[in-house]
């Protein structure tokens, strides 16, 4: 069947990075105390919170937090095993997002209640949550007071191996983010940053294009759980983004302090402040932008890019290019399609690794072409032949199973992450068959249609196959449609630096102009469309996959002539109306009656 991946014990990257820090520890920043890295200053430990605050925090903790973080704060609550990343284990006092130097405890001061002051790391984490993980922002749910209370409880009762107030063992070396002036994101700065991420070996984990695809499967956190480098193109998923993803300061902070408990080291000792700004500017410049190069609109309710449910297809004359860099493709706007785990039917996909895809579309007189691009850290192609037929939907008997609800850490998703059988990466989309006959708003069910309304499914797999299926229900095996497969075309499929680019062409209509067996595309009509994506290294196969909501694709008609004529007629009409009105008033003033 398929090969299991072998865990590599200690990553050479961590070693190299630590070595780099040790070597450069002697380098002294300009204008700083001799033993401090540039941009940092010594701080005092915060006072211990009062006992009544801790007691009040316990009540908050056991209402809201215990479900994931567990009774003893060991990150082993009932929800933990089906989560990846796993909930934080508080016991060791290891926290990711901080202003303090690598290895130190984060800032927490029960007196400091201003959000984003830079003086209360844990408070900001609870306030803004950790985007890209299950930790939600608690602002608007818990009051500031309640957030401080629960942190008082966590830092004193659940952090067991260290003590926030112990002057003997703890120090605070604080990044002076508030007073350091950011370097402007000039072309020069970004260019230097692009060179620095090579020199500083960032690309070894984060990949050549920063999609987190370097060494993606050998990294582990302090507890031995699989962990993956950040994808710089999705800044809204940065844990430390503080719900302000395009703010370069967050990247500067993470880069200066490192991420405790993970292989991400602090670069405070090995880089100057200026170099760190250059890197931060470069990383920030990679985050996805809109057509005009502006940051994407972020939906404040979800902290993800705003969604438009229409995928427009623009008309072009003649052949459609298979090169995404061609002018006709560059001119056409792309759409963000949000993807969630398929959690409706077994086997459910609790850890969804493809959380969005980007779609463009063009059409000519014969066919419509979809250009789909998505980030996937690993190129996955199953070794050997898969044990099930391509039409088979129910693959639970072949080892594609969902996670048991309670497994203990040994069997948790995070622990299993390196050990899934590798299947094919894949992408698919479905349209309703004979949508012309289905009264709005009815649609074939989003998951492969249903018995009454069938779905026209086109699926590409990383082994190079492009197949056309008829779907008649979520638990019904597909019917393969060979006669249509001859007509669909794979124009391009390429995995490069953590990104798949797949271009699929399909005819607008059949030769007989009927639409018995596949979707006929009529210009100017909204046709419901659903996307599916599989990550082979995540063990995705069958229904274990990512799925989108209903989107609409529409072949944009060329603008009809009336659109230009009628407004002109209306404008002329208005001129006449004005003339009539003014004449009337002028006559009235003169005392004439018409």
């Amino acid at each position: 069947m398929s090969k299991l991946r072998v865990n590599v014990k200690a990553s050479p990257i961590i070693g190299a990075a630590l070595g780099a820090i040790l070597l450069s520890a002697s380098a002294v920043g300009i204008g700083q105390a001799a033993d401090l890295p540039e941009g940092f200053a010594k701080g005092d430990l915060a006072p211990a919170p009062p006992a009544d605050m801790i007691e009040a925090g316990k009540r908050v903790y056991f209402t809201k937090c215990v479900w994931c973080h567990g009774v003893d704060g060991a990150g082993d609550g009932p929800g933990a095993d089906r989560l990846w990343p796993r909930p934080r284990n508080f016991n060791q006092g290891t926290f990711k997002i901080r202003h303090t130097a690598s290895g130190e405890l984060p800032l927490f001061n029960y007196n400091e209640k201003t959000p984003d002051s830079g003086k209360n790391d844990l408070f900001d984490t609870v306030t803004h949550g950790l985007p890209g993980s299950a930790m939600p922002p608690w602002e608007g749910i818990l009051t500031e007071e309640q957030r401080i209370q629960v942190l008082s409880f966590v830092t004193t009762q659940l952090v067991k191996d260290r003590k926030f107030t112990d002057k003997q063992s703890e120090t605070q070396t604080i990044l002076q983010l508030g007073t350091i002036k950011p370097a402007e994101a000039t072309e020069d700065s970004i260019k230097k940053g692009a060179q620095l991420i090579v020199d500083k070996k960032c690309i070894e984990c984060h990949g050549v294009e920063g999609r987190g695809d370097g060494n993606a499967f050998n990294l582990k956190d302090d507890w031995g759980f699989s962990i993956q480098p950040a994808n710089w193109h999705k800044c809204w998923n940065f844990r430390g983004s503080r719900q302000d993803p395009y703010n370069v300061r967050n990247i500067f902070r993470t880069f200066s302090t490192g991420v405790n408990g993970t292989p991400m080291p602090s670069f405070a000792d090995s880089t100057s402040v200026e170099e760190r700004w250059n890197i931060a500017n470069f990383v920030n410049s990679l985050c996805e932008k809109d057509e005009e190069g502006k940051p994407l609109g972020i939906d404040p309710l979800t902290d993800k890019p705003k969604i438009n449910f229409v995928v427009p297809s623009a008309p072009v004359e003649g052949e459609i290019s298979s090169d995404p860099e061609n002018e006709m493709w560059k001119k056409q706007g792309r759409r963000y399609v949000a993807m969630g785990g398929q959690i409706t039917h077994k086997p459910r996909n609790f850890v969804n690794r493809i959380d969005d895809i980007w779609v463009k579309s063009l059409y000519n007189e014969k066919s419509v072409v979809y250009l789909i691009q998505w980030d996937d850290r690993t190129k996955s192609i199953a070794e050997g032949k898969l044990p099930w037929a391509p039409t088979q939907v129910n693959v639970e008997n072949f080892g594609v199973k969902e996670q048991a609800p309670k497994t203990g850490e040994e069997g948790s998703i995070a622990a299993a992450q390196n050990n899934y059988a590798v299947y094919n990466d894949a992408i698919a989309f479905q349209f309703p068959i004979k949508w012309q006959e289905i009264p709005a708003p009815f649609k074939p069910r989003y998951l492969f249609g249903d018995a009454k309304f069938n779905a026209d499914i086109l699926k590409w797999e990383a082994d190079g196959s492009l197949r056309s299926f008829k779907g008649t229900g979520w638990d019904q095996d597909f019917e393969e449609r060979d006669d249509f497969e001859e007509k669909v075309k794979l124009l391009k499929s390429e995995w490069k630096n953590g990104q798949w680019t797949v271009m699929i062409s399909r005819p607008l209509k059949g030769s007989k102009d009927d639409y018995d067996d596949y979707t006929r595309f009529d210009i100017g009509k909204y046709i419901p469309m659903v996307f599916f994506a599989w990550d082979g290294h995540n063990g995705d196969a069958g229904r274990k996959m990512a799925v989108s909501a209903f989107y609409y694709t529409i072949l944009q008609p060329p603008i009809p002539q009336e659109v230009y004529i009628y407004p002109a007629v209306i404008a002329v009409g208005v001129v006449f109306l004005e003339g009539w009105m003014l004449t009337r008033r002028a006559n009235k003033k003169k005392g004439k009656v018409l």
Partner: protein, 345 residues
Amino acid sequence: MKALMSVGALIGVLGLLMLIGMIFGVVPSNTVRLVEGYMPMQVLSELAVFVAGFTGLSYLANSMGMAIPRFWQGVLFWSFVQTYLKFRIYPPIPFSVRAMYGVVSFVAVFMWVSANEEDWKKFRQPILNVLDANTGFHKALRTLYLILLPILIGGFSFLTMKPSVDEPIELRTVHPAPPASTKVHGKTYTLQTSQNPYRVNLEGKYDQAYSNKLIVEQGMGRLMAPNANPWDDKAEGYLKYVREGGEIFFQNCHFCHGDNLNGRGLHAFAFNPIPANFTDPGTIAQLQETFIFWRVAKGGIGLPNEGFPWASVMPPWEQHLTTDEIWKVILFEYWHTGYYPRTWD
């Protein structure tokens, strides 16, 4: 009086500055947060504050001899309401609804300016001036209107006629009428008479009054009632079942409905219709426990057509959970949100 009006004016200016700041992104848009569930009241009171502010402003302007003509007062107020609706409220209101509010506020402003003969004269004077007056300024203005109006109206009709690719609007019924009974795992439950077998007092009898005393407290944070910790080792009966329900919730449901049951789970952003927000007073607080049982057991695929069964990703939980587990999850949802299930009488 003057002092009072000055305070009003101050509030008005501050409010306006804040609104303008939010529109241009100078002031973070969450400075004054609209809290879910309280939003209508918040919006109303904000508008009331603005009106008080404007009264003060107008009074001050009057006393300084710089009175704003009635005509411009009306126009400004109307555009203020439109600006407020467009930029302050989130999620955004669709244009059609804003247009409706626009008409209503237009009528209101019209009634205000035409309340008596004198006001009405003052209001229409500037309009008549543009039409009739022969001063240089008014002539220029008249010519400007003559040119601009056709261009604007023509342009507007061009934009409306141009084919756009806005998503089609489809109206979905969120809480469709339930069936009389539902069959789950081979057993038929009549919705009117079934009861949650875990909503029991310490004697093991169905007792909603007992469980109501142990749910979390309403108000910010919705924290557990003192001495009612389901995680207490000694917790038994109802509270123990709440904990068991919570364990199931956090192994199955929070992915969409969220850690705080507000419909903002990890996967929620991708789905449409969006997952239900149980903390909203319009969802489980308005429904009977057996209605929830039916919806949980049958899921999205079990909805009647007006609920768009084809689009909902809500799992039919009978495929994943036992009947007992479903009842416990429901028990937990009411406990955690601090709501009482609605009763049939």
